[in-house]
């Protein structure tokens, strides 16, 4: 019976943790390129141990037009590869800018990688006859000159990815591989919205609240029964 109280208390704890996840999803309703964190579930595996099932929902978010030449969105699978202080990371947020030294960088200032490393547009910037265009395959051209091709990658094991701030992912031990041409399409002047559906999150929140309530009631009943058991010995 004491064990029952522990089990129910663990239920309370995991519901609260899941609510934190739902709260984070809802707070990021308008974050470009944000991918939903699926609330985790606990299962007992075949060795009788508790296992956590956690996942990220990589579903495509809506693409909205911004008309900014340095806003890129990926339609289909794949991620932009960026260079950070902690090694390469993947992101779906393609709102880029030009750094002081003429590289294409993310909002946080991390260099965006092309097939030949960081993409430099420095020496081409002052030419008024040319403009930066990008084909759906990710070929970056300045006028007719091909500068580089955006590196688009897929995770080898998406379930092992770890989030870092700024809608970036690190890929864990398995790393990533370069996506084949044609498996994605890059849209210039678009950004990908967050893939959060508020109705789904609301539903999840109601469910968590109800389950929390049930676990709380179970603890109360067990407490009552234990109290009665303690009464038995009294004369």
């Amino acid at each position: 019976m004491i064990k029952g109280i522990y089990t129910a208390a663990r239920g309370l704890n995991s519901r609260m943790k899941n609510l934190e996840i739902v709260a984070n999803n809802l707070a990021n309703l308008n974050t470009t390129g944000f991918k939903r964190v699926v609330p985790f579930s606990e299962i007992i595996n075949r060795y009788g141990k508790v296992e956590i099932k956690k996942a990220t929902d990589y579903q495509q978010g809506n693409l909205t037009k911004t008309s900014n030449p340095l806003d890129f969105a990926i339609s289909g699978k794949g991620f932009f590869v960026i260079q950070t202080a902690n090694g390469p990371e993947l992101t779906r947020d393609g709102k880029f800018k030009i750094s002081v030294d003429g590289h294409i960088v993310t909002k946080q200032g991390n260099k965006v990688l092309g097939k030949n490393g960081p993409i430099s547009v420095n020496n081409l910037l002052l030419d008024k006859n040319k403009r930066l265009t990008i084909s759906s395959n990710g070929d970056i051209r300045y006028g007719d000159i091909l500068i580089d091709t955006l590196l688009i990658a897929n995770m080898n094991s998406p379930e092992q990815s770890v989030r870092t701030a700024g809608v970036n992912f690190t890929t864990g031990n398995d790393g990533f591989q370069i996506a084949s041409r044609g498996s994605y399409s890059i849209k210039q002047g678009y950004q990908e919205e967050s893939n959060i559906n508020p109705i789904k999150e609301m539903e999840e929140m109601i469910r968590l609240n109800t389950e929390y309530d049930s676990a709380h009631k179970i603890i109360n009943y067990l407490d009552q029964s234990l109290g009665q058991a303690n009464q038995i010995g009294k004369v």
Binding site: R10, N13, I21, T31, E42, I52, K128, V162, P198, D223
Partner: protein
């Protein structure tokens, strides 16, 4: 416990509040010549590794298992407001000192401190020295000076300014040039319809209107703001609902905390 969820929800509410501020500024500027609408940008905060099984248990193997930890986020932070540089509607004014750019580019103006600023607002005037200035008095660069004999000016689509004197003869006075940016969304708004270059906008590329992808100059027209009232209203409804749903998170956490407080009778 739970306070993280409260803080996360609060960060979401703060973000939506800022969103509403940006939207209301867009709506307030619906009749501002050459105004470009803003959009608030957000980014998620750092994630934390949290163990899922903090309650001690008699079952072995539940604790100290690294795979039994999850990543919990800390909410959202507003990062920037991005300008959306789509073309505004061109409206006729029949005023010879009104200019609208149809297409890419900005008029270049010189501020009092000698630095340059850029604008899409082409409602120009002539100042006391005969120079062409913006409605707030900044000198248009390259400078164009009219003398006392000038009866009127004509500006062609490629920016060539010709002046007619009182005798009826006409001569070329100069050219209006336009500036373009790699990333106009990165320009900094200075107020007074002016923008300044930043690191993220890139350096200005100066050129002749109608050539090399620059826009046309239209004399006797002004560019309205590109704010679409329906779109702003929809954004406002969405922001308000998003604020509300974050406040529901606060409510739910509060309810759950109350239940936790009632565990001990």
């Amino acid at each position: 416990m739970g306070t993280r969820a409260l803080r996360t929800a609060a960060s979401g509410m703060y973000a939506q509040e800022l969103n509403i501020e940006v939207i209301s500024n867009n709506i307030a500027n619906i009749n501002t010549t050459g105004y470009k609408r803003n959009k608030a940008e957000f980014q998620d905060l750092m994630y934390q590794q949290v163990s899922v099984n903090p309650v001690s248990s008699s079952t072995p193997g539940i604790n100290n298992n690294p795979s039994n930890s999850i990543q919990v986020g800390n909410g959202v932070v507003p990062t920037s407001t991005a300008k959306i540089f789509t073309q505004g509607d061109i409206t006729p004014t029949s005023n010879q000192m009104d200019f609208a750019i149809q297409g890419d580019g900005f008029f270049q103006v010189r501020k009092a401190d000698g630095t340059f600023a850029y604008t899409r607002d082409g409602s120009f005037k002539v100042n006391a020295d005969g120079r062409i200035v913006t409605s707030s008095g900044y000198i248009v660069d390259p400078e164009l000076t009219l003398d006392e004999n000038t009866a009127g000016i004509t500006v062609s689509k490629d920016g060539t300014v010709s002046a007619q004197d009182s005798g009826g003869s006409s001569y070329v006075l100069g050219n209006i040039e336009l500036a373009r940016f790699m990333n106009p969304g990165g320009l900094k708004a200075l107020g007074n319809n002016l923008y300044a270059q930043t690191v993220s906008s890139g350096v200005p590329i100066i050129g002749t209107p109608s050539k090399d992808g620059f826009g046309d100059i239209n004399q006797g027209y002004l560019e309205s703001s590109n704010v679409d009232i329906v779109e702003e209203m929809i954004s406002m409804i969405a922001a308000q609902r998003a604020y509300e749903i974050n406040s529901k998170t606060v409510q739910t956490v509060q309810e759950m905390m109350r239940m936790a407080n009632n565990l001990k009778r």
